[in-house]
């Protein structure tokens, strides 16, 4: 503490350690919170086509088309250690080829301060619903779930499933005409 430099250094170092402690305390104050909430999902239009997947193998694969309704209020999930919610809508199903298929159809970045009451009607998906083969036609049980990945200022990155999911069937025949 003798020279100006050592005093300045000591103060800076101490401030930084206090900041680290506060950040950790902020993390602790939010880590045990329950981030689950309800979401209402519904599929509106569902059809399936069989076309060549040029982005992957170039073979003919099943391509599903759906539109969906979504209603949820995520306002309560935000607190001082939530910077962003990454919302994503997953279609999960089982086929002969694969025990588990998960395809993200739609996602949304929801920053803190933005309107967190979501009400979508007849939304189109953001990504193509390609199957890894020809497993979609006539599929009896495809489950749609909404999940969110919580992005904190500092802390863990939990992925939470919304309460409420929706299952739907694909039609038994391919749609030939362009949609």
């Amino acid at each position: 503490m003798h020279t100006v430099l050592t005093r300045g250094n000591a103060i800076l170092a101490y401030s930084l350690s206090v900041l680290a402690c506060l950040t950790f305390a902020c993390f602790l104050s939010t880590v045990f919170l329950d981030y689950r909430t309800n979401a209402k999902l519904n599929s509106v239009k569902v059809l399936v086509k069989n076309v060549a997947d040029y982005s992957a193998s170039r073979e003919k694969h099943d391509l599903g088309f759906i539109t969906f309704d979504l209603h949820t209020d995520l306002t309560s999930l935000f607190n001082w250690n939530v910077k962003e919610l990454f919302l994503y809508l997953t279609a999960e199903y089982q086929t002969e080829n694969n025990e588990l298929n998960q395809v993200v159809l739609w996602d949304k970045i929801l920053l803190r301060g933005e309107n967190a009451v979501l009400d979508f009607k007849n939304m189109n998906t953001k990504y193509y619903f390609w199957d890894d083969g020809n497993g979609l036609k006539g599929h009896k049980n495809v489950t749609l779930t909404l999940s969110w990945n919580i992005i904190p200022n500092a802390g863990l990155l939990p992925r939470i499933f919304a309460i409420g999911e929706h299952s739907f069937k694909f039609p038994d025949s391919y749609t030939v005409t362009p949609v």
Partner: protein
């Protein structure tokens, strides 16, 4: 470097350190509580920065209050013992 006295006496140093820690800790705690109340961690950070600035202002420059108790050095002895002393220092 510059012809400015920058030192503090020993008790001044102790005082400066205690004071700076107190200021920063206080601002940290107050900032944390305030940030928790309005749910904005950024405000906590700003308040801590304010504490840092205040502590810098109050304890880094060698204000006169940190120099009230200078050490009473012994008067230099006559020439003869000078060389050996320097080495020991």
């Amino acid at each position: 470097m510059f012809n400015i006295q920058t030192h503090m006496d020993f008790q001044g140093q102790a005082k400066a350190e205690k004071l700076s820690r107190f200021i920063i800790t206080l601002f940290g705690i107050v900032g944390f509580i305030w940030g928790a109340v309005i749910q904005q961690f950024f405000q906590t950070f700003i308040i801590l920065c304010a504490g840092f600035s205040l502590a810098t202002l109050v304890t880094v420059p060698p204000w006169p209050i940190y120099r009230r108790k200078p050490l009473n050095w012994q008067k230099p002895k006559p020439e003869s013992g000078d060389d050996s002393k320097k080495k020991k220092k």
